[in-house]
Symmetry: C2
Subunit: 263 residues, 2 copies
Amino acid sequence: MDQEQTAAEKAFLDQYDVSKYERPSVTADVIIFTMDDDNELNILLIKRGNHPYKDYWAIPGGFLETGRESIDEAAARELYEETGIKADDGIDLRQLITVGTPDRDPRTHVVSVVYTALVPKGLLQPKAGDDAKEAKLFKIRKGYDENGDLSIYFVGDKCSLTMKNIAFDHEDLIVTALKRLRGRLNYTDDAFSLLQDKDRFDILELLRIHEAILFQKLDKPNFRRMFMRDYLGKHRVKELGQYAQEGKRKTTLYKYLPSNRDI
Amino acid sequence: MDQEQTAAEKAFLDQYDVSKYERPSVTADVIIFTMDDDNELNILLIKRGNHPYKDYWAIPGGFLETGRESIDEAAARELYEETGIKADDGIDLRQLITVGTPDRDPRTHVVSVVYTALVPKGLLQPKAGDDAKEAKLFKIRKGYDENGDLSIYFVGDKCSLTMKNIAFDHEDLIVTALKRLRGRLNYTDDAFSLLQDKDRFDILELLRIHEAILFQKLDKPNFRRMFMRDYLGKHRVKELGQYAQEGKRKTTLYKYLPSNRDI
DNA sequence: ATAATAGTGTCTATCAGACAATATCAC
DNA sequence: GTGATATTGTCTGATAGACACTATTAT
């Protein structure tokens, strides 16, 4: 793979004209999911202050700083700028899809690399009213559209959004992200990334996350057995012993053990 | 979402300076897999005629024609240019990953959107010696590197490649593609895309494809039962009756029924 | 006849889901 | 005690994998 630079190659590179091809703009966009106190799945959206799609809601995103950062770093920077959360310590930031039809942004040809971020419950306090833009958490709810087809909508503190309020093609991207999250649930550790504290949680909290992602109730005894078999039995989590959380009866708490399986 | 263009928005767009941000180059690269007559998994590689990485082998790829095509269309065009195969009729062309570290190409910052293409057995006749470049099919074999770790290598008609002969970061991309292919095997119809004729195949041919992807032998009776349960039982394939293929004893042939499940 | 391959049968261990029953603790 | 929640138990049908066995046909 590594190669020394020959004289011929050096000459070639020196005469190479980087402006030969017209280039598209490239952005990193981040779909940020988290859990709220009602144990519902939430998404962070930004109200656009400028055209195009002024006053529509969009997922956070920004242009790649060409030559200075990778596309993954751009996504991490975008997450940090919008939420103050550093993408290192255990935040799950993962590529979802790249979209690039010429007309998806009226300004110019924009190629967007879209990421999904799973932020632990309680960590996200979106700083509202950043002058030009407004960031807000919305509950994701399942519903039915005018055709009776399954769809989703967003419920915020004082307002409720339908897909008609969403900028660009971000509607499709969010739906894709939700499907992928649901599909990955059974063979990844995604759900753990949404726990308030990965080092101290009980089975019920993990079950609430699964329910929120699947939009359906699950059977507690069966979920417990799955947990024992797939996680405790395979040493993916460690038992911490029984503890009582304030106002609740005591429960067995667990600690998540990160593993370097690749999926 | 659609929106009518207001006067204010029009004014904004007119004064918008598209050259405000420096832009990276964007390429669509395609990892092309197919099956050969030995029922082994093959990959199409191109010998580079120019710097950088002159004389190294690479996956086919090319620059996005900004403003004129989507990134998916660029990938389809690239597949067509290298192989003469149109991406419509049943060729499985799917996004794998997008990479964009600033220094992965010495010329300039290149963001590559990488696709995986599954080409039916027998369709691929790479047109060798296109002056500047040479295209060739390589068998993908499993092996062990100098550290004893699991790795892969490529066996061509007259030459054999190790990962040391591969340009850019294409080594990692190919490994990622193989892992994904393996992971998807049980819950997608990927294997059908590699059949010589999706409308006329027997169970053994499908089994050979699974074996090639997994790099391991499978039990025929168990595979048959899986096929009956998961495909025939769920009407994903249709039974055509028993036929004898030349020199072989007669077998039940099946036809694949495309479905629009999304994964 | 023989060898190869198509196809059937069987056994076991595991697993998902439904649901009953018991245990523990806050109030 | 009462009610809510944690935990254990039981049953059924589906599933994966190992492997023995029979049926058919090219040679």
